[in-house]
Each structure stands twice: as structure tokens, then as C-alpha cells.
């Protein structure tokens, strides 16, 4: 109870503080350069040069402190030793190159990158296409979209239950093993199955991301001009041709956006692996490996930061692509 009051107090203080800052600083500015009197024109000009910075000041402060500074700081730390005391140059990166777990993580991350965005986009496109054509489409969309609201940890529990294993002879309570054994196979411990266990983890993320892909792609599909589709139908296109040759090419841009967005999620994937296998049995990924080095046992900030910088490097091409797109849109 006490802490809810504390939280409430913080909200009030935060809101009040923000408003006080914006209102107060504007008031001070108007006091310094009153928009009237002999110098009105010059004052307004000056005030207008300063005012934007009052508005974006707090945001810029937060962004630099909580996002820009950490990137720079991590880059620096990755060149230092475990306690961030001595400079070791590129030693951490050299160590990474030779580390078995790091190679495994890179390999798995690449696997995730190949499978998850592709599968999510595919299922999203399929879901968008079918739900747009049925009467209960909106309800269907809601259900497919729903996993988006579920936390990765919650999803981990949900799927671990599906993959649950009971020894042979006992009744299987995991859905997958129940289906598998009813087909006459012995039950499997899916999450320890070498190589394939990665795919069982990926299924969780695909399950979560498909709804997102569906929502965006569905809007894009509906945005295709009626005339194009009518013309194609009149020319005798069958439904498959209509979809793959007319509709899909028209929404390539949107597909690219969906794809890259999911790619970023994949590069940062952490919670799912963390709670379901914790990187054991050959399922390690970069983000979880980094967590291991930073917070488990004796922390090694140098190695942890080096892994973080690798993740950052993988994200950077998408970042540049996004900025270029945004700039093009603004012009």
C-alpha cells in the first residue's frame, strides 16, 4: 500500500515537475524577452530561437543519458578488462572469436534471423489475406493478434506446457507429446533435442509476432487500389495469381518494414531463451550470453560489453536504413 502511495506521489510529482518546467521556463523566457515594447520584434525572434530547446530539452537530456551515453560507454567498456579497470584493446573481441558459446550464439541468432521474420511475415500475410475475406474477420484478427499482449515470460510458460514431457507409459500432459505419441512415436523431450530445440523456441516468437505482421499487412492489402485488382480479375487472373503477382508486389515496402522490425526483435531476443532453456542444450543466443557474462557468477563487464556491441553492430544496418527512409519521407 505504502509503495502505491509512493508511486502515486511520483506520478503527481513527475507530472507537476514537467508542467512546472515547461510552464515556468516559458514564463521566464517571456519575461526576459517580452513580446511587446520597443524591442518586440527582436525579442520575439530571440525567444523563438530559444523556445524549441525548452520544449525538447528534457527529452534530449533523457535520450543522451539513457541511450546515447550507454552506447558510447559500452563501446569503451568492451575495450577494458573484467572490472573495467585496465585497457586491454581488442582482447575481448579476440576472445569472442575463439569462444565456443559465442559461435553457438551467433549460429543460433542467424538461424533465428532466417526463420522467425520469414515465418512471421508468411503467417501474417496468410492471416491478413484470409481474415480480410470473411465475415468474422475482425474477431479472428483479435485472437491471432492477442499473443502480442502476452509477455515473453508468460508465453514461455504457455509453450513449456505444450512441450511438457512425461516418461514413456505415463499419460502425456503436453499437447505436442500427446499428439506425437498418439501417432505411435515414443515421447520426446523437445527442449533438449539438439538443433531442433531452437525451432521449438522460435515457434514462441513466431506465435507472438504473427499478429503484428498481420495487422500491418492487412492494412497494406486493403490500401491497394480497387481498380488494379478489378483490372487483374477482368484480365482473367485466378486468385493465386491475383495474390502473388498483383497484391504482394504492391506491398513490398510494407513487407520490408515488417521484416526488418521483426528482425530487430529477433536480434534482441532474450526472455524466451532465458526462461525456457537458459541457453542450455545448444540454444544459446547473443542477448542471453551477454546476460550470463554481465550478471551471473563473477561478472565480466569487458566480455559482456563486447557481446552487446556485437548486437549493436548487427542492428546498425537496419538503423541506417530506417533513418534514410524517415528522411526521404520528410522531404
Amino acid at each position: 500500500m505504502e509503495q502505491l502511495l509512493f508511486a502515486g506521489g511520483t506520478i503527481v510529482a513527475g507530472v507537476f515537475g514537467c508542467v512546472a518546467w515547461f510552464w515556468g521556463s516559458n514564463w521566464v523566457l517571456d519575461g526576459l524577452y517580452p513580446p511587446r515594447g520597443v524591442d518586440a520584434g527582436r525579442n520575439i525572434l530571440r525567444a523563438n530561437m530559444i523556445r524549441p530547446w525548452l520544449f525538447i530539452g528534457p527529452a534530449v537530456l533523457f535520450l543522451s543519458l539513457y541511450l546515447v551515453y550507454p552506447v558510447v560507454n559500452s563501446a569503451w567498456r568492451s575495450l577494458l578488462d573484467a572490472d573495467s579497470r585496465a585497457f586491454v584493446g581488442l582482447d575481448n573481441y579476440r576472445w569472442l572469436m575463439g569462444d565456443v558459446k559465442f559461435r553457438e550464439s551467433i549460429f543460433n541468432n542467424m538461424l533465428w534471423l532466417l526463420v522467425v521474420p520469414a515465418a512471421s511475415t508468411f503467417f501474417g500475410l496468410l492471416a491478413a489475406q484470409v481474415t480480410d475475406r470473411i465475415r468474422w474477420g475482425n474477431a479472428a484478427k483479435s485472437f491471432i493478434f492477442m499473443p502480442m499482449a502476452i509477455s515473453f515470460v508468460g508465453a514461455g510458460v504457455i509453450w513449456k506446457f505444450i512441450y511438457d514431457y512425461r516418461a514413456e507409459g505415463q499419460e502425456q500432459i503436453g499437447l505436442l507429446n500427446a499428439i506425437w505419441t498418439s501417432l505411435g512415436h515414443p515421447p520426446e523431450t523437445w527442449l533438449t533435442l539438439p538443433f531442433w530445440n531452437n525451432f521449438f523456441l522460435m515457434a514462441v516468437l513466431i506465435w507472438i509476432q504473427t499478429g503484428f505482421a498481420m495487422v500491418i499487412l492487412s492494412a497494406a492489402l486493403r490500401g491497394i487500389p480497387e481498380e488494379t485488382i478489378e483490372a487483374a480479375i477482368l484480365d482473367g487472373a485466378n486468385p493465386w495469381q491475383l495474390f502473388f503477382k498483383i497484391k504482394v508486389p504492391q506491398i513490398w515496402g510494407t513487407i520490408a518494414v515488417v521484416w526488418t522490425t521483426i528482425t530487430i526483435v529477433v536480434l534482441k531476443v532474450f526472455d524466451i531463451v532465458f526462461v525456457m532453456t537458459n541457453g542450455q542444450w545448444g540454444t544459446q543466443v547473443l542477448a542471453n550470453l551477454m546476460y550470463d557474462w554481465m550478471f551471473r557468477g563473477a561478472p565480466d563487464y569487458g566480455r559482456g560489453s563486447a557481446i552487446a556491441i556485437v548486437i549493436m553492430a548487427l542492428v546498425t544496418p537496419i538503423m541506417i536504413w530506417n533513418i534514410r527512409n524517415a528522411r526521404r519521407e520528410m522531404l
Binding site: 509512493f6 508511486a7 520544449f55 496468410l126 492477442m146 499482449a149 509477455s151 542477448a287 541506417i320
Partner: protein, 377 residues
Amino acid sequence: MSAIAGTKARLVWVVNLAALALVLLWTIPTFGLLVSSFRDRDQIANSGWWRASMSSEATSFVRAGTAADQAQEGELWVTAGNVLTEGQNLSAWGTNSRDPAAYAPGDVAELKDGQALSVAEDGTYRLTSPTEFTDQRGMRIFLTTTAPPKFTTGNYARVIGAEGLGQAFINTFTVTIPATIIPILIAAFAAYALAWMEFPGRALLIAGVVGLLVVPLQLALIPLLKFHNEIGLGKGYMGIWLAHTGFGLPLAIYLLRNYMVGLPREIIESARVDGATEFQIFRRIILPLSFPALASFAIFQFLWVWNDLLVATVFLGNRKEQLVMTGVLRELLGSRGGDWEILAASAFISIAVPLIVFFAMQKYLVRGLLAGSVKGG
């Protein structure tokens, strides 16, 4: 024409079935856990949730009474009692682990040395022997029992109290609400400046915001934790609120700016001509008109903070009473990996609020997504 109509009718069927298949695939995992969270502990362990509405069958054994329990009836020594607990029905029984269902209820089993055992349908058994029993441990009676479906809310009561989920629920709220509201305020002002004020460096700032959208959080953990320690904030709510504010800002600014740029120029210009100050324009015109965008960001940030595990693990303490719900759930997965009734109920408590928010505010969520905005952990 009729050929086209024919294909069309068939296609409608295919499309409906495909949609149904997708919906089932996407809801069954969650539904299974929901059903399980209401089932009795033993039943979860003995049968799949898809059989929740059927009687569940279980095999077990109990021990008959020992020599101390026997009574003499004429020439026979007799041990008697009941093997069933409440709610169980006996469907078969046996005396040997190799054939635990050898006898039907009511049968009499002839055992060695002239002993005989009978178990009736109501569970009463009668073990007789011509000589006195000397066993210190009673003989094993194997049972195949069925129990009617049993649903309970006890799992929920248990996890909220004993497993600490009630406290975690409050903690999660404490983290989420300020971490949702504060970034909105800061971002709204910044977005207005970036959308409607002319100043050198504006384009650069916008590009910077777009770039920061994708910065992996992982980079920020150690530097910020050190920073918080240096300024005396340490681990705690204030630290996590500030961290979430920082991490949420790029998306907030980006979303709100995109929306505000689309507001009609005439309204703002005419207000300026009428002598309104920028602050008045912001408060009286921009804020009310931007409500949809504010709502969509609020939902994003709420879901993101509520569902977050990484930031909470790093910026909050790790004692049991300090954990947020995702943290408790993770602990339970480790310590009680097989207790599905606990895991299921806990998972449902933690995803209930996001699901309610999701279904109630879906419209804004979709609108926010379509504004071209996205953020992944």
C-alpha cells in the same frame, strides 16, 4: 460466369476453414493453460487438459492394515478398512504391481497360505487369513480409480498468497504506471517542437530519434546501473522509472511527432496570429487533438513495461518481495518447473491485465502500429 461463382463458393469455404485453423492454432496454447489453471493438482498431473471435462483415471496403491489392526472372527483373522479417499471411484484393483488391475470391484482374490482379499466397489476391503497376521507393514493393494472432473480456484488463492504473486502484482503496478505517464509528458512537448517549431538541428534530432528506436536495451544495462549507483539512486523504483522513461522516449517522440505533423496547419497558424503563446497552443490545441496518438503510445508503453523482465531484473532488487510478476514467474519456472497448477495460475494472473488492456484498447493499439511505429524489446 457460373464457373466463377462456383469457384468462389468453394473458395469461401476454404478461406473460412483456413481462418478457423489459424485462430485455433493461435489460441489453443493459451486456452490450454487457462483450463489447467482451474484444474485440480492431481488431475493436471494425470491427464491432459483437453480431457479436463472427463473423469480422470489414476493408478496408485495403498497399504492394508498391519498386524496391529487385525481382529479375530471365529476361526479367521481379519483386517478391514477402506482404500478410497473421497471423490474417487474404484474401477479395478490388484495385489501385484505387474498386474495392478487384475480384479474387478467385488472380486475375491485367493492369496498364498489360504489368505483372501476382497475389495468392494465402495472401497471397503477385507483381508482374511486362517493364521494370525504378523506383518509390520500392510500388504500393498493396487488401485485403479477414476475421479470426476474437479475444478477449483484454489490454485489462484494459493499463488496470490503463498507464492508472493499478490505482492508482485502491486510491485508491477508501481513500476508500470509512472513509467507510462512520465515519458508521455516529456515526449509530447518534444514532439510538438519537432513537428511545429523551426530551429537549426531539427532534422538531425529527428534522425537521431529514429536511430535510437532500435538501440538494443542490453547495451544500456551496465552503464546505467553504474550511473545510478554513482548518483546514489542504486536499485529501486526511481531508477527503473527513469530507465523506462529513457527507453520509451524514442518511440513516444516518433509516434507523437508523426501524428502532430499531420494536424491541420491552419489551426496552429491562426492561433499564432491571434497571439496565443506556444505553450497555450500546445496545451489547448495540440494535446487534445493528439489524444489518439497519446493513447496508442500509452498502451504500447504500458504493455512493454508490464511485460518486461530484463529491465526489472537489472534495475530492481532480487529479493522475493521486490520482484515484479515476470520475475516471480521466472523464479517459479526454475523452482517449481513441474507444478503446472502453480505455473498456470501465476501466468494467468500476470497476463490478465495486459489482455484486458489489449481487448479494451485494441483500436488504439492498431492505430499506433500503423503509424509506422514499432519497438521490440
